[in-house]
């Protein structure tokens, strides 16, 4: 188990290194941040001073070398635009994205599992078929369009939900969170729903498939032959089997939900990391882009690791193999 974790961390390290190289080269190829960042009125001396300050007068490999050196000293670089440490900048936007993504994932479980259970238990009912048809829409409708429709319906026509921003926030652990206030929750509902639509459909279909697969099994019939209530058969015997793929997928989706919150954040003007990274890419603010991507990579790796660990807890057959 331990060697397995160490190996995973080792892999993670190389992925991060590769990532920084790619981003460094990539940003360099796309364009010169100097053209965007320095006002055209600045004179030659001023220009040279700023370029030197940012270290952009050095050859790329040297810049990379300085960057690595800085990182090893715990310094992830400063944003060209805000002149603040990149990490601090991302950190200040992270809670907004995290709470949005986590809420979206919770939505996908809270809506996806019950709907999938129903569709699996009553596959031929009208409601069961409607759920399945709806899930196809959830997969295929573009996220930004659904977001706009949500705003049109709930904010513009009905006027029941706010359409932009985080709303009122409250502090916990010295960080501002929207989910702690009623107003914040109202602001979060639409973006979270929008962000979770794909995952709801995914979880729903997984759950349904799992139910259809599990129900005819002998052990379900045996559980019923023991005289268990239908409730217990479904909630314990069926659900426990289905939770294995659902947890895996939901866990893995958390990473991509965070990474792809970009669209939703833009539509709902949600001040999270996604919006920050889009802005940073526009002005080629390399330190922020690099720091953000490194963080996302680390996040993905952590999530994968945690999912694998949960997986072994849920499925006793896997546990045995890793022990042996």
């Amino acid at each position: 188990m331990l060697t397995w974790i160490v190996r995973r961390l080792f892999q993670a390290f190389f992925v991060v290194v590769a990532m920084t190289v790619i981003v460094f080269v990539g940003v360099h190829v796309i364009g010169n941040p100097v053209d965007i960042l320095i006002s055209p009125e600045a004179d030659q001396a001023e220009r040279a001073r700023i370029i030197a300050e940012m270290g952009l007068d050095q050859p790329l490999w040297k810049q990379y070398f300085f960057f690595v050196n800085d990182v090893l000293h715990g310094n992830m670089g400063r944003s060209f635009v805000f002149n603040e440490p990149a990490l601090k900048l991302i950190g200040s936007r992270m809670p907004a994205t995290l709470e949005l993504a986590v809420t979206a994932v919770l939505f996908s479980i809270c809506f996806g599992v019950p709907l999938g259970l129903y569709a699996g238990l009553k596959p031929d009912s009208v409601a069961g078929r409607a759920i399945m048809a709806g899930s196809i829409l959830g997969f295929s409708l573009p996220s930004f369009w659904v977001g706009l429709m949500l705003i049109m319906t709930f904010a513009v026509h009905l006027g029941v939900l706010p359409s932009t921003g985080r709303g009122e926030t409250a502090a916990m652990f010295g960080i501002q969170w929207s989910f702690l206030t009623w107003d914040g929750l109202r602001h979060m509902f639409m973006p979270a729903l929008n962000l979770s639509l794909f995952n709801i459909s995914l979880v729903l279909r997984l759950t349904r498939a799992g139910v259809r697969e599990t129900l005819p099994m002998d052990y379900i019939k045996f559980a019923r032959a023991k005289g268990l209530t239908p409730r217990r058969v479904i909630l314990v015997h069926v659900l426990k089997n289905i939770m294995i793929p659902v947890v895996t997928v939901v866990g893995l989706e958390l990473g991509s939900t965070i990474a792809f919150a970009v669209v939703t954040e833009s539509v709902f003007a949600w001040p999270g990391m996604g919006k920050l990274i889009i802005d940073s890419i526009n002005v080629l603010d390399r330190p922020v882009i690099v720091a953000y991507l490194m963080m996302i990579v680390l996040l993905f790796i952590t999530i994968n690791l945690v999912v694998d660990i949960i997986y072994t807890i849920l499925d006793p057959r896997v546990r045995l193999e890793t022990k042996a």
Partner: protein, 324 residues
Amino acid sequence: MTVTLEVRNLRTHFFTRAGIVKAVDDVSFKVERGQVLGLVGESGSGKSVTGFSIIGLVDPPGRLAGGSILYRGQDLAKISEEEMRSLRGNRIAMIFQDPMMTLNPVLRIDTQMIEAVQAHTNASHSEAWTRSRDALGMVGIPSPEERLRSYPHQFSGGMRQRVAIAIALLHNPDLLIADEPTTALDVTIQAQILAEVQKLATEHGTALIWITHDLSVISGLADRIAVMYAGRIVEAGEASTVLDRPAHPYTHGLIGSVPSRNKKGEKLRQIPGMTPSLLNLGVGCAFRTRCARATAVCEQEPPETLIPPERIVRCFHPMQDVAA
């Protein structure tokens, strides 16, 4: 002797797209307290469906299409699902054919046993645990306390079947339906389990229906034998009489195909042909395409005839003298 179960004219049909499958068609038999009934027949003859009909677990598109199932005089075909549930696993228990599939792979043995105890009693968790441990000990599982914490995959097939038997016997049922529980096991373990179940059943006066396609398995065990063919009982009577002097050509063929009953060096006699499809089975004796004694009259429905003192046979040309 009191009659534990009396099945009268039971019909269980599957209403499939392709047509009606009469898996059980006009089946009648009786089992008395402490008695063993061997239900014998080829694969697909409707033995399992008969068992599931009694315990009320016929899955759609199948359902009871007629007849009565009298458990201590109460018709199980007429009681509510909740009443049936409280009998299932409690007064009427069943063991399945494939031990590898009967236990839920993701739940520990203790969970699966304790829930079975608590489904029918108000026992506390620790009381239920004690009962489960004792039940495991009784079916010959070494160090039951430890084994309770195991998952099914940590047991061999024979051990799993013992666990299933322990679960089935938890509430000392009045009726135990054993659906080929030893078919998937080694011959030595088969014999052990057979002997143990019989012992436990006799101790508690449990009526036992032992389903098998292999006559040799039950020849020493059953008090009575009912031979099933294509959803019907074609011969039923006292075990030794049926085995020594079979009256129905099909029973005769079955006995001929048991190795131990053939003389050394003699070729095994096989019944020619295959089990007919139960889908839209026409009138007439279903065995006539394979029967050496078939005549024109066999195109009609053979009546149930009595061979004194109490044997029943469904054939126009039985191989023993019938009542005048």
